[in-house]
């Protein structure tokens, strides 16, 4: 019935990337996406099921130079409760708090979230506006090869990423925001959590003496992947926020997105919410 012939639980990163060489591997991390998808038949198992939960290099949340490194196996709960994250990346805590339910937060991993590449992925929006990079590992020949890729280039389609079948996401690295950093996240849905967002918005940047710079704006649930909004960012760059500027930027945001109609909302409503909520968030930024 199934293709699955081999179950493997490596205890080192080397073992894991070696197993991945032939690419015929289904990866098991927290299981919160793989379990229901495979039970429903939406994902078919490959030849090997590899359980990566015992690989030490994939866990932990640490300070490494000017970056915070979050291991791929860090659960959403571990992330939102970690002192380093709470201190330096409060916008990520905010997104985690609105993620699914406590039970799912306790088991779901950031690596799994990133690889699942949902267009509405809650944690992905703050990671994008925080300039996160994805750590990847593989064994192209006989030695392990590790490199990082900016998250903003990682997503290619719903559920699709630039990760090849021979690669493993080992963690995510986030530069510690500098002084005068502002960041906001908003998820629009009908409940505090346990909800796939109708739209979500992340805005971050530097605000010094009223002027904005290094702006990052990301939207969720309005495109096939979580996206950075280049036009909106450009419209904010160097500006000082007042009512007229905010309205102008909100209109650009609305026009920039091309959402679809689905069971959760229509494209028209999503555009309206992008406009109204961008306006609301910029209002908070202006008052901060």
């Amino acid at each position: 019935m199934s293709e699955l012939k081999h179950y493997f639980a490596p205890t080192s990163l080397d073992q894991a990337v070696e197993c991945l060489k032939d690419g015929d591997v289904t990866i098991l991390a927290g299981g919160t996406d793989l379990t229901p998808q495979s039970q429903a038949g939406r994902i078919k198992f490959k030849h090997t099921l590899m359980n990566i939960r015992h690989i030490p290099q994939l866990s932990g949340i640490t300070l490494e130079g000017k970056e915070i490194r979050i291991g791929a196996l860090a659960t959403i709960t571990e992330i939102m409760e970690h002192p380093l994250v709470k201190e330096h990346l409060p916008v990520l805590v905010e997104a985690c708090d609105h993620f699914a339910s406590d039970q799912i937060r306790n088991a779901g991993t950031i690596g799994g979230n990133i690889c699942n590449a949902s267009p509405a992925g809650d944690t992905l929006i703050p990671l994008l506006v925080l300039d996160a990079c994805v750590e990847l590992a593989s064994m192209p020949e006989s030695k392990i090869y590790r490199h990082c890729m900016p998250l903003s280039t990682f997503f290619v389609g719903p559920g699709k990423t630039r990760k090849s079948l021979c690669e493993l996401v080992t963690g995510v690295r986030i530069p510690i925001p500098g002084p005068n950093h502002v960041a906001h996240f908003y998820k629009h849905g009908t409940r505090p959590a346990l909800d796939i967002s109708t739209i979500s918005i992340g805005i971050a940047g530097t605000r010094k003496d009223g002027a904005l710079s290094n702006m990052r704006v990301a939207f969720g649930a309005v495109a096939p992947t979580p996206v950075r909004a280049a036009q909106t960012e450009q419209a904010l760059e160097g500006r000082t926020l007042d009512e007229a500027v905010i309205e102008q930027v909100a209109a650009i945001a609305r026009d920039e997105v091309q959402p679809i109609d689905d069971v959760r909302a229509t494209a028209w409503y999503r555009k309206e919410m992008i406009h109204n909520i961008t306006k609301r968030i910029l209002g908070h930024v202006a008052q901060a």
Partner: protein, 804 residues
């Protein structure tokens, strides 16, 4: 013995009535020990699975089950061809369990498999090959009644195309229909033409009520087993075991005596288990063919796809009043999407009529409705049974009429609310009636009038957050509903040598706490603690007949039945004691496990000792009694008039909300409820029923929406069908109006459905109060509210249609 004399005692210090009594099965449930149907496994059982249609509306050209039958582990694969004497099921007998010749909806059952495991059964389903020929899909009732519309149940034709003339009296499943009309109802009292002529204000609006579904946390399931003599044992979560016993016998063509139904604890009912569904009959067919027990349990997706829904309604209401505030007339037309086959949803007009004719005093009323076949899911019975839909329209018009004549909405309602002693145009006799008290209590506790005015004044002011307050009331049966030949319930009561009571009742427990309330009533009568009683209520081989759990009837009817049996037991005990202690029976009473002197409270003898004396004497006797209670209600006549229930119940809810006009999101802040319950029996239990009903009503009003598109269900899962979650619930202030019904057990009336009924209506009134915008369609999701506020929602108008 006739209906016993009802005395209303003053509550004594040790009375159980009105106390907070924990549910008797709660400790087991909270330990994870309760075995629901999903947890029961019989030795040698097989697993049953159903192949559902791959099309919405199509002819079945062929079914090839050979590959499925050949799969190792598969015992039986059946289709309609294997059951040539298959009988149609359901309210209108238009529904074959295994489909014959065509499929009419997404849930249609084509074939079924019994196999060693669920995995093998699922794999076997995938191997069944079906060829279809598509037919045009009818996705809404308006299309179904257009000239030239495809017929959902066409009359069969011979191979040469000629019309087959089938026997008179054959069911619709066999002989089809010349049109798509499943059921019609017409009701009238008074003369609406006259009523309209007397009106100073007349308004007319169309309301659209949507699909929602029960979402019991425990999915549907059944286990069927034939024994060596061909008797059937079914483990079933039916709410009507005795009716089902009779019906299943018909479908299996055996004597009803050979059918035994055991009801395991149920994971929620809410009316979903009042009809017979194809999966149940199919499970029996599989067990019969396989000669092994067959267990069938739905997946959650299947639960969404294949369960009955609440009845969706398209409703046009025309109402009028005089400028002094007197209601004059209501004229109602409704169109019901009957789905592909008929279930109890088609009969919701019976209940809706009661609201149209009798919620507030209306001298003239007429109501016409048709249920129309489509390729959608069929609706069943669901807590409130049409009353939510009717009240949504009526209570919005109450606000709108008041506004049109410039009268305060509270005053308008009080002017038209009935009092005890009134008989309505439909013949409902309001012997106990707490209607006005409900309105006054809910209004004063919520500070309704003051907030209503304040919010109205705030509508046009700047600021995106708008507060609103809205009121709605409901009327529902509270003493059963005489729709079957009998609306009664039987009880058998026995006492053992230690003064422990076994109460054997026909009334089922579906999570609403009936076993605890019945125990409470019996213990109150016999002066015993709750711990002294065991309830047996789940086996048709043991329990006496009860018509079933519906119409909020269990406390009232099973309660009176239990009290009847308990009173007989008490009379016997006191007669024995009086003889033994040479005094009058009227000198004695039962209290705290003793026989006492009624005037002083002085103990005469311990009850258990008296019972042992009675048992172990030369002429041995036990205390065993029986009682069958039939309520003094009547069947409605052909015009649907009559006093259909032994009592009626009212409730008023005031809903407070906050609307974010930038997003359309409505936050439900508070619900203030006043419910006329006759008398509070188990305070803990009744609060739980009301709180649960309020939140169910909240879901109907704001979050739940089963989205159908051309017959396809777009959200058969909890991810996109939104039940209310814990952080969303409102503050709840619930008051009880104890109108002390003369017929009710200890004065109580039924309340199971009431709290869900007027939430959506009150919410609509609250949104209008907050924003000045009226919403005529449910649910009030953020997008729908946002669109309405931006004038993006064209006003719906359905022109009433009458078939010739």
């Amino acid at each position: 013995m006739n209906v016993a004399e009802k005395k209303h005692r003053v509550i004594e210090p040790d009375s159980l009535i009105g106390k907070r009594i924990p549910k008797m099965d709660a400790p087991e449930k909270a330990s994870g020990r309760t075995r629901y149907i999903h947890d029961i496994n019989l030795s040698g059982q097989l697993h049953g699975k159903i192949l559902r249609s791959g099309r919405i509306h199509a002819l079945i050209k062929s079914i090839d089950t050979s590959a499925a039958k050949a799969l190792p582990g598969v015992h039986v694969v059946i289709t309609a061809a294997d059951i040539p004497d298959q009988r149609p099921i359901g309210v209108a007998k238009d529904h074959f369990p295994l489909k014959v010749g065509r499929v009419r909806s997404q849930r249609d059952e084509i074939a079924a498999v019994a196999a060693e495991s669920e995995e093998i059964a699922e794999a076997a389903l995938k191997l069944i090959k079906v060829e279809y020929e598509d037919l045009p899909v009818i996705g809404n009732p308006e299309d179904a009644i257009k000239p030239g519309a495809a017929l959902i149940h066409p009359e069969p034709h011979g191979a040469d195309g000629t019309h087959l003339h089938l026997k008179q009296g054959m069911s619709i499943a066999h002989k089809g229909k010349p049109d798509n009309i499943a059921m019609r109802f017409d009701y009238a009292h008074g003369d609406v033409v006259q009523g309209e002529a007397e009106s100073d204000v007349v308004i007319e609006d169309t309301f659209k009520l949507h699909y929602v579904t029960h979402c019991c946390m425990g999915v549907s399931g059944m286990i069927a087993e034939f024994d060596a003599s061909g008797n059937v044992l079914m483990y079933s979560n039916t709410q009507v075991p005795f009716l089902h016993k009779r019906e299943f016998a018909e479908y299996l063509n055996i004597d009803p005596a050979r059918i035994r139904i055991i009801q395991p604890p149920i994971g929620g009912g809410f009316g979903s288990k009042l009809d017979i569904y194809p999966f149940e009959v199919i499970c029996l067919y599989l067990a019969r063919a396989a000669k092994r027990p067959v267990k069938m349990v739905f997946t959650r997706e299947e639960e969404f796809l294949a369960s009955p829904t609440r009845q969706p309604v398209l409703l046009t209401l025309r109402s009028g009043c005089k400028k002094d505030g007197t209601l004059t007339f209501r004229q109602v037309h409704t169109l019901h999407d009957n789905g592909a086959y008929t279930s109890w949803g088609a009969t919701t007009p019976f209940v809706m009529m009661q609201t149209f004719s009798s919620l507030y005093r209306v001298p003239h009323c007429d109501y016409h409705t048709a249920a129309v076949y489509t390729n959608n899911p069929y609706a069943g019975s669901f807590r409130g049974y049409g009353n939510l839909q009717a009240t949504f329209a009526i209570e919005q018009h109450m606000d709108m009429l008041a506004e049109a004549i410039g009268m305060d909405p509270l005053e308008f309602r009080m002017k038209n609310a009935q009092d005890a002693g009134e008989v309505t145009g439909q013949g409902m006799s309001f012997k106990s009636c707490g209607f006005k008290d409900c309105i006054k209590t809910a209004a004063s506790r919520s500070d309704f009038s003051h907030k209503f005015g304040e919010n109205q004044a705030n509508q046009k002011k700047p600021g995106n957050i708008k507060r609103g307050i809205g009121m709605a009331s409901m009327l529902h049966v509270g003493g059963g509903a005489k729709i079957y030949p009998s609306d009664g319930c039987g009880t058998i009561l026995k006492m053992d040598d230690f003064a422990n009571v076994t109460l054997i009742t026909g009334a089922s427990e579906i999570g609403q706490g009936s076993e605890t309330v019945l125990s409470q009533l019996v213990c109150e009568e016999l002066g015993l603690p709750i711990s002294a009683i065991t309830v047996v209520n789940n086996d048709t081989a043991i329990t006496p007949w009860d018509v079933g759990v519906h119409a909020s009837r269990t406390t009232f009817i099973a309660g009176n039945s239990a009290i009847g049996a308990a009173k007989k037991a008490k009379a016997k005990i006191l007669a024995v004691a009086a003889k033994k202690f040479e005094c009058a029976e009227s000198d004695l009473d039962l209290r705290g496990g003793f026989v006492i002197r009624g005037d002083s409270g002085e103990v005469v003898i311990e009850l258990s000792k008296l019972l042992r004396n009675l048992h172990f004497q030369d002429k041995a006797e036990l205390v065993m009694t029986t009682f069958y209670y039939e309520p003094p209600s009547v069947h409605q006549d052909k015009g649907f008039k009559g006093d259909v229930s032994a009592a009626y119940a009212w409730g008023t809810q005031v809903v407070e909300i906050e609307v974010d006009t930038d997003t359309g999101f409505v936050k439900l802040l508070k619900v203030t409820g006043a419910h006329d319950v006759g008398r509070v029996l188990n305070r803990l239990g009744i609060e739980g029923q009301i709180e649960g009903g309020i939140v169910m009503g909240q879901g109907y009003a704001f979050t739940e929406d089963l989205i159908m598109q051309d017959g396809v269900m777009k959200n058969p899962n909890f991810r996109d069908y939104k039940l209310v979650t814990a952080p969303e619930i409102p503050e709840m202030d619930i008051a009880f109006i104890e109108s002390m019904d003369g017929e009710g057990p200890q004065g109580a009336k039924g309340v199971g459905e009431a709290p869900a009924i007027c939430m959506a209506a009150a919410a609509a009134n609250a949104i209008a109060n907050a924003t000045g915008v009226r919403m005529f369609e449910l649910p009030f999701t953020p997008e729908k509210v946002y669109r309405a506020l931006r004038g993006q929602t064209p006003k719906l108008y359905w022109k009433p249609w009458r078939a010739e």
